[in-house]
């Protein structure tokens, strides 16, 4: 009951969003972002020119296989790329009209946790084992807002109720090991949301959880988004999660976004051969005789990424041009863009 009240209180005074029609206010623009890591083996080009934008109250899912640069992209937005060995070599991250890549560390800290916050993959390791939940919840709040301990505690209790943890005032004094995995992830979410950020980056928030808890956490995301209007970037390789809560989907491969569009467009009209392959490799329970179709091969070496489309070597439709020149983006609809030579006028005749 208390929880409902809190949710209600939070919803008043803030713009509410009816259904999926959202205000078309851009809060984040990532332009040609490039991130490299210098290692003993050479320079890894982890992110090779990522461009996307995010509107207020929207959920953008970034999907792709391991090592495609999803997490590096999110860390770059958050300003969490360790420098060195990492380096943002090009591009802009424009948040509310300001380019975060040009910020000094101390200025960045004023945004981290306050305007932009992050949820980590593994709730078992994301919480400090030697600090109480209460302290971990309130320290961000107290850093950014200079409020008293009592006020911070009230807010922390409110947040714990919001994420569905009962008995919050007692729970505040407990340590992470006294919580289950699902509850810890709720706490991580509460920590991320306590300063009421405008942008939430969730880096595989459900990967480490079992399926029943996953569903609960995803519902929690939806609920919170409805109440607070936060924009979410969801990093995942779980297409089931994407289908549930994303508005738009960006498919990443070898450090580039190769296809981006609304959820409907990506799921029903996938255009890039990689996106198709990705969707085909999802097990389906409704088709009895169906066999899983893996994408053969492995992603390219990002020490020396190919000049053309990185998917060429694994692509069943690869043409000569694919290996040599990176395809120009083709707009299939207002929101649906794909980087593939197959969409070029000159290739249209070949496969029909």
């Amino acid at each position: 009951m208390l929880r409902e009240q809190v949710l209600h209180n939070k919803s008043t005074g803030k713009p509410t969003f009816e259904g999926k029609e959202r205000m078309e206010e851009k809060i984040l623009q990532v332009e040609d972002l490039q991130v490299t890591f210098t290692t003993f083996g050479g320079v890894v080009q982890a992110v090779r020119g990522v461009t996307f934008d995010l509107h207020k109250g929207e959920t953008l899912a970034i999907v792709g296989e391991s090592g495609c640069g999803k997490s590096v992209t999110s860390n770059a937005i958050m300003g969490l790329i360790p420098q060195p060995p990492g380096k943002i070599t090009n591009g802009k991250v424009v948040f509310k009209g300001k380019d975060l890549t040009s910020f000094k560390k101390s200025d960045l800290r004023k945004i981290q946790g306050l305007d932009v916050s992050m949820i980590f993959q593994d709730p078992m390791t994301a919480l400090n084992p030697t600090m109480t939940i209460g302290e971990q919840l309130t320290e961000g709040l107290r850093t950014h807002h200079k409020i008293s301990r009592v006020e911070a505690k009230t807010k922390a209790i409110e947040m714990l109720l919001l994420v569905g943890i009962s008995n919050p005032s007692e729970r505040l004094n407990q340590y992470p090991h006294q919580f289950s995995g699902g509850m810890r992830q709720r706490i991580v979410i509460a920590i991320a949301l306590i300063c009421e950020p405008t942008l939430l980056i969730a880096d595989e928030p459900t990967t480490a959880l079992d399926v029943t808890i996953q569903a609960q956490i995803l519902e929690l995301f939806e609920e919170i988004q409805k109440k607070t209007g936060v924009s979410i970037i969801l990093i995942t390789h779980d297409l089931g999660v994407v289908a549930k809560i994303a508005d738009r989907i960006a498919v990443m491969y070898a450090g580039k976004i190769i296809e981006i569009g609304t959820k409907r467009e990506i799921f029903y009209e996938p255009t890039h051969p990689y996106t198709k392959g990705l969707l085909n490799s999802v097990p389906r329970l409704d088709l009895v005789e169906e066999e899983l179709e893996p994408i053969e091969g492995t992603p390219p070496d990002l020490f020396a990424p190919p000049a053309g489309c990185a998917f060429t070597a694994r692509c069943p439709y690869a043409m000569e041009v694919c290996n040599l020149v990176y395809p120009v983006a083709t707009s299939l609809s207002e929101k649906h863009k794909v980087d593939c030579w197959l969409q070029d006028e000159r290739a249209k005749g070949l496969f029909n």
């Binding site: 994301a126 919480l127 400090n128």
Partner: protein
């Protein structure tokens, strides 16, 4: 908690008893007696002396007497220093040894942790290399070599510091330095490696994502977790420092307990050997107990007591 302390207390008593028993039998296994030097070569005198100190009694009776002495903590007079009781030797020597030990531990822990943390923060930087080179040297040089070197350089050549004895803070610098360098180097290396590991943890990244100040992240989030291995070896390190004080006290002519302890073994001064062994082992066991308590305070996952509601 109280239950735990009581349990630990009995374990401690048992440990000390075991050490005392071992020492007793080892001591009597050494050939010869306290009266073996030339002045007391007369057999009659020897016999009388042995009677006086009850050394003529069979071993089990002596053992029983000795256990009684432990319980009452009255080890009687020293054989070689008839004017001193064991208790008065302890009362005179131990505070000085304790002072040396405590200062050493403080210096070793504070500078070791600082050095290790700095090295970890500047991983593969100049500070890191310097600190680790220093640490390897510190670990490799035994404290008695270092002590003589320090005396030679700072007291002999430069004449900046006094070479021996224990009077003013100035006198304390060289012995402490000689004794603390080894432990400090070990702590520095340990802190560095565990700090490096902790800094890659998700909760550190999360703390950064909260926009916390770097100083808070290091001190509040990282250091406490990185200290666990350091606390773990503190136990054995205490024993090392304790025995180290014996050597260092001898080199620097510090009138601590170490001098009496070593002398007593050479002289087979049974009461002094027994008294100081029991006292030192009790002290060490108690320090180890403190270390365990600190462990429990540092890491809430380690429970010192069983009760209290568990997880969800």
């Amino acid at each position: 908690m109280i239950q735990y302390i009581i349990k630990r207390f009995f374990m401690m008593v048992l440990t000390v008893l075991l050490i005392a028993t071992l020492t007793f039998f080892l001591m009597h296994a050494i050939p010869g007696s306290p009266f073996d030097d030339d002045r007391t070569s007369n057999p009659t005198i020897q016999e009388n002396l042995e009677k006086y100190y009850k050394l003529d009694q069979p071993l089990p009776v002596q053992y029983a007497n000795y256990l009684k002495a432990i319980v009452t903590f009255d080890f009687g007079p020293s054989i070689k220093k008839p004017n001193d009781s064991v208790n008065s030797l302890l009362a005179r020597g131990f505070p000085i040894s304790f002072e040396l030990g405590i200062i050493t531990i403080l210096v070793a822990v504070l500078s070791g942790v600082t050095l290790g943390t700095l090295a970890a923060l500047r991983h593969n930087g100049i500070i890191d290399y310097l600190a680790m080179t220093f640490a390897v040297i510190g670990i490799s040089i035994p404290n008695f070599i270092l002590a003589t070197l320090l005396i030679q350089i700072f007291a002999g050549e430069l004449k900046w510091l006094p070479a021996a004895t224990w009077q003013s803070p100035l006198h304390m610098i060289l012995p402490t330095l000689a004794l603390a360098t080894g432990p400090m180097a070990i702590i520095a290396r340990l802190t560095r490696s565990s700090m490096l590991e902790v800094l890659t943890q998700d909760y550190i990244k999360m703390a950064r994502a909260k926009g916390l100040k770097p100083s808070r992240i290091i001190i509040r989030h990282a250091l406490r977790n990185a200290m666990m291995p350091v606390v773990t070896i503190m136990g054995t390190m205490l024993a090392g420092i304790l025995t180290g004080t014996f050597v260092i006290e001898r080199i620097f002519a510090i009138p601590g307990m170490g001098k009496y302890f070593v002398e007593s073994i050479n002289n087979r001064d049974y009461p002094v050997i027994m008294g100081s062994t029991v006292f030192y082992s009790a002290f060490l066991v108690f320090m180890l107990f403190l270390v365990d308590i600190v462990y429990g305070i540092l890491d809430p996952r380690i429970k010192l007591h069983k009760k209290e509601g568990e997880s969800s």
